[in-house]
Subunit: 315 residues, 2 copies
């Protein structure tokens, strides 16, 4: 992982998976993956094994986020090491199968890269989600993608939060990367969202092909939004929400939220202000799937990560 | 229903119901109705019995459109007259209960007015849905609402189509009226959509109160969009869709679609044009719930309906 000229030499990335349908009602990834299963020409790259894969076929079939439990929280050590048994929740069974096919998680046998394709009802645009600030391969890939899609943009969300980080489907791979594109309602396929996702995947695969071919990527920096806090809706004693995201905050993902800015609007017309000391950058604002997770939005702070130069390690 | 001065004298409208949660993932109506069940001050009017009501509590509980079958298609004569039995689909049971409580449909005992509150993922804005072009009470109410909310607007969708008209929950009442507001993703509550719905309901109830107090409403006209045709997505032989709503059509509900205009974009990048002879006005464009109904959008034509003056009949 290092060399005299400060170039980090990394293992070749030969096996890549593209997951759609980790959540069965997020239609862009499901549609792309199904399309690529039928005809993979578009995603083929020199020397790469690329596997498009529907993570949760039963949830896709029913066009619902999940059957028994959220697959994208199910890749815990407990679940993955639990004995096979009748009556396990569908997504736990599925997590164990996926771990056998693409993992085992944390092992040298694991797939090199898993892209996991998601949609959000939030106005987040295209967002790459990282689980580590020290994964040079992913940082360089993200940098490459951002440059390649300019003048279009793509935000980078980094989740290393000790409590809020969760056990994703993609975490089975050595280099897990989430791609979240919105706004798109659940069960809907919007052409603009579909095309954004497709373009980002194209550049991501190009990056991997170039890396494997021996290209050296110079040092770079990546602007990221680091997950800080989960903000819940105001609720009554029965747990029912009593306010909505304020119209001044709605759809303003990634824009600064300062102390004193409107945050919620109660049903009886009262504005609730943000009272945190520091400016934050909210994201996943009013995501449909997060009502049940007690989350109206997530706060982040901005940070610049530096990445070493990388190239493929010599054998 | 008539008089010498061309004023139609109509029966007083004493009993009014407001339904939310006919579809359990359409959050504006659900939230408003639950709020009004707890505190009805806002919807009380002189001499009116107003009943806020959750139509499909189990679907609301699960935040899903329906449990077994679409409640808003379930009010058929066959269902309503079927014998009570174990094992009926949940929504059929529920339709029979609602018919007992607010009907019977078509009888003089039925509620006078049912407002049924819906949300759509389509960019339709606020839309009042009528089931009859000859219901003077509803036409006058719609006219009143449109004037009251100006400069905001509200479209009127008229469905008298022999094949495409369906047996709605609200059809139990003498004067059934749907209110559809979007765009709002399923499972999401947006403050702007919530407030639009609330405002329209306010004016609707004001109208009924004025009518019951003896106010005469002069003749008027109402611009409506009349349901013409259901347009499906292009599909392959397995029934899977092969194209998306074209970006030039997406979000353009109520705007004219002319022969030769782009309609769909196939996954391999081909544009499919609208080839109908006449200009139509599409609506319910890319509504999430209509993928399973084989409908990408609905075409309508514009029409102006004239309504007689009305006032309450003398006893
Ligand atoms: Zn997702
Ligand atoms: Zn509905």
């Amino acid at each position: 992982m290092s060399s005299r000229t400060n170039i980090s030499c990394l293992q070749e990335a030969k096996r890549v998976a593209i997951f759609g349908g980790t959540h069965g009602n997020e239609m862009s990834g499901i549609t792309l993956v199904n399309m690529w299963i039928q005809n993979s020409a578009e995603i083929e790259r020199n020397g790469l094994v690329i596997k498009p894969f529907i993570s949760s076929p039963r949830a896709v079939e029913k066009c619902t986020r999940y059957i028994d439990t959220d697959l994208n929280r199910a890749f815990t050590p407990e679940n993955l090491s639990s004995p096979d048994a009748e009556g396990l929740p569908y997504e736990v069974q599925r997590a164990k199968e996926i771990n056998r096919m693409f993992g085992p998680k944390g092992s040298s046998d694991a797939y090199d890269v898993i892209f996991d394709l998601h949609n959000t009802t939030s106005n987040m645009g295209s967002t790459l989600i990282l689980e580590s600030s020290t994964d040079l391969f992913n940082l360089q890939m993200v940098h490459y993608i951002k440059k390649a899609i300019a003048p279009h943009t793509c935000s980078v969300l980094l989740n290393e939060h000790p409590q809020l980080k969760y056990s994703t489907t993609r975490s089975v791979a050595k280099h897990p990367i989430g791609l979240e594109v919105g706004p798109q309602p659940q069960g809907v396929l919007r052409s603009n969202v579909f095309e954004s996702m497709r373009t980002i995947l194209k550049h991501a695969l190009d990056f991997i092909e170039l890396f494997n071919s021996g290209v050296e990527f110079p040092p770079c920096t990546v602007d990221v939004f680091r997950v800080q806090e989960r903000m819940d809706y105001p609720r009554d004693t029965n747990g029912n929400i009593t306010a909505m995201v304020h119209p001044h905050l709605q759809d303003c993902d990634w824009e600064p939220l300062n102390r004193g800015d409107p945050m919620f609007l109660t049903f009886d017309g009262r504005t609730i202000l943000y009272e945190g000391a520091n400016t934050v950058y909210p994201t996943f604002i009013n995501e449909a799937a997060y009502y049940e997770k007690q989350q109206a939005f997530m706060t982040t702070c901005r940070e610049i990560l530096a990445a070493n130069a990388i190239r493929k390690a010599c054998k």
